[in-house]
Amino acid sequence: MMDRQIRQLAVAFLLLFVILFVQANYLQVFAASRLANNPANQRLLLEEYQVDRGDILARDGRTVLARSRPTGGKLKYQRFYPRGPLYSGVTGYYSVVFGRYALEASQNDFLAGRATELLPQNLVDEILGRDKRGATVVTTIDAQLQQVAARALGSLPGAVVALDPRTGEVLALVANPTYDPNQLASHDLNEVRSARKRLLSDPRKPLLSRATQELFPPGSTFKLVTASAALENGMKPGTTFPNPPALQLPNSTAQLHNFGGEHCLGGAARLTLAQALQISCNVVFGEIGLRLGAARLVDQARKYGFDGTIPFETPFVEGRIPPVSEFKGALSFVATSAIGQQDVLANPMQMALVGGAIANGGEEMTPHLVKQILDADGRVVRETRPSVWGRPISARTAGELTTMMVNVVNAGTGAAAQIPGIQVAGKTGTAETPSGKPHAWFVSFAPAQDPKIVVAVVVLNGGSLGSEATGGAVAAPIARAVIEAALRG
């Protein structure tokens, strides 16, 4: 009589176990990915920190920008940046709390040994019972040049970008202020949090690179873009323009003045385009802008990459120029934009790309930071091949602009960039800011006839010279130091 109940109990218990089996399926199959990727699941992090993450090296393949050190703790490896603040704009950080940034983020698949190219090596490591090893990222950064650029900038707020115009390789990427990624890579979570809090509350925004991420009015360096548009649209270096002491802006009571209120070239009646660039005459460039019109000016800026998407391995914010529609009914804006004021914005990386395109015969190369990827045994698994991003100007325009830029250095505003024995081409910029202390700019390349390096410099709010600062006085010497080191090196 009891057997009936016993059989029913057996069925009931079997059912209970079926329910457990279904629940295990739910956790381990159906909801597995959602649960496993919950940020509170430290397993993924532990797994990640189990990997002997690859090095980030300078282009010499020896100078270490970032590497992993065994900790003996729960998280097996810790990221170490031997020259932390110097390279933070390149490496970024690798933080338990705040994740990855810059190269640490974009090259993570290689550094963490996860890329498909690394499968054979992973397999060997697995068989030998070794920790998974990440691949080494060799950057295009020239360690010596980076140090020269950092030293030349000193403690001034600003940034320096040096590129190889022929390949787009970034040779130096320096920005002030900077930060020490070691503080964020610490395994002491409280230290990381307080460091991050400090960096975020700093009004100078040290986590944002002034070389690539922040934007400033480019001032007269933007005249390179305006001049490009002029030459591409039928004007010649010898085309002359009236030279009044100030330019009455159309539909407006405002006037456009020259720097310091001077009358360009001692009050000559007319100036050529070349002369206007050489002495950076605002009045004439305002006229050129008006003659070109908004559409041609905006179009030329966009060809250089303004408002575009230029691929880069760390966060890069391209220059900005308002759309053509915003100039309608505000003709005066075309004149002020043509001299790099108003709503035109750029950073040293963007201006280095403009300079690079002029230096490289009109071809703008895609900028890049990664030279090659080596697996843990030193085999090359990937190599970056230079690629052309765009052709903003013709070779002839590039040649004409180069000649004008040579004159800027030899006999114009950029005299401070002269180097005996090396012909430097450049363009100064002194961008007005609401604070009254202008940003000092310099965009340059050398040697002018066979350019091997392009350097763009910005020093914010005039640096030590304050309101007296000009691009020629403050920024040009920094560019000269970098060029000299690169070519005399």
């Binding site: 009589m1 218990f13 079997l14 209970l16 457990l20 399926n25 381990q28 699941n41 397993r43 019972g129």
Partner: protein, 464 residues
Amino acid sequence: MQALPALDARSGRGTQLALTILAVVLSVGAYVLVTLGKTGKTPPGIAGFVAVIAVSYLLAHFVVTRLAPGADPSLLPTAAVLSGLGYAMVYRLDPGRAGDQFWWLMLGLFVFVLTLFVIRDHRTLDAYTYTIGLAAIGFLLLPIAPGIGRTINGARLWIQVGPLVFQPAEIAKVLLVVFLASFLNAKKELLAMATRRIGPLHLPALRYMGPMLVAWFVSLAVLFVEKDLGSSLLFFGIFVVMLWAATGRVSYLVLGLVLFAIGALIGYAAFGHVQDRVTIWLHGLEPKHIHSDGYQVAQGEFAMATGGIVGTGLGHGHPNLIPSVWTDFIFAAFGEELGLFGVTALLLLYVVIIGRGFRAAIARDDGFSKLLATGLVSVIALQTFIIVGGVTRLIPLTGLTLPFVSYGGSSLVANFVLLALLVRTSAPPPAHAPVRGRGRARLPREAQASEPTIATARPEGDGA
């Protein structure tokens, strides 16, 4: 008539020997894999370990064949595999605890043998109904006793005698099953009498509801005084299941559910920690709880989710992120490192024990044996369901050990006593039953009621 069971016992011996050897291989294999996974080397002293495990398992096997001929051949090997896997996992989680666990396993095997040796016929236990019942209640409430009672993790479940700390509730649950089997078998006709009909239910007279109310109060006492949700739930569950098995009255199931609901509501209203368990069950993964009170349950789920279908491999996961993983949450550790495959295998091993236990219950002729086997099996089944369900967030978490697998001496030893009784019950009892006391008067009546031909013919099915 005589030849058939003998033949069966011999083939059963062969089966059990083969399965025991398999258990040794699986246990040693898991231990070696764990060490390999952790250190990349085979464990030192592996030969000694193999020898000790093999000798003790095989010894237990020979004792079963000698002392309980015809016993179910799969019960001991299945429990042996579970204990072996459990030991390997405890070693993997915390080598410092593995030493204890090893000696408890040895002690468990020893009391297993001892129980089989002392109790040659389980029916003799039927004579000590109330002695065993009182002992059960005594053990259950022992931790309350001042002086020896110990509170660990907020639950007063332990007693300390000299250097020895153990959980008397583990022994109590085995004694309780024996008591209930004896008591309910004696009173089942009485309890099954329907005296009043309310709607579709036949409700027993109030005086026959007494036993259930007593069980209910005892369960509530365990909950209130010892703050032990798991044991409380388990005891009441065993009681209801056995009462139903004895009487077949649905009304008892309904009554049991109603009393359970009332008890749960009282517990929920009275205790913060009961409310917490429910909150964690429902909202454990929400940001408010995931780093604090829901941490353990969340980590358990993450462990299983990270393990996925095949697991990370023994020694390659991070089960130690789960607090107390070696006791209550050891199932999640298996889920992480052996995956869905591993936990399915574990669940199936329990299903084997449960299935074979019920088979033994049906094979016996007398009500006491049937109820005893049913009760013992119910302990394993319910305890496994409650803890695995809690770990996988199917039901609110209540602390219980995973039978044979979890770290913990009291639990392991008590489960081997339970296993010994189940093995004993699964074996055909001696024909010349040495039954004493009140049991003697009852046994012949039972024997007359059943049909001996069916009883002896049944084992034939085992070979098929």
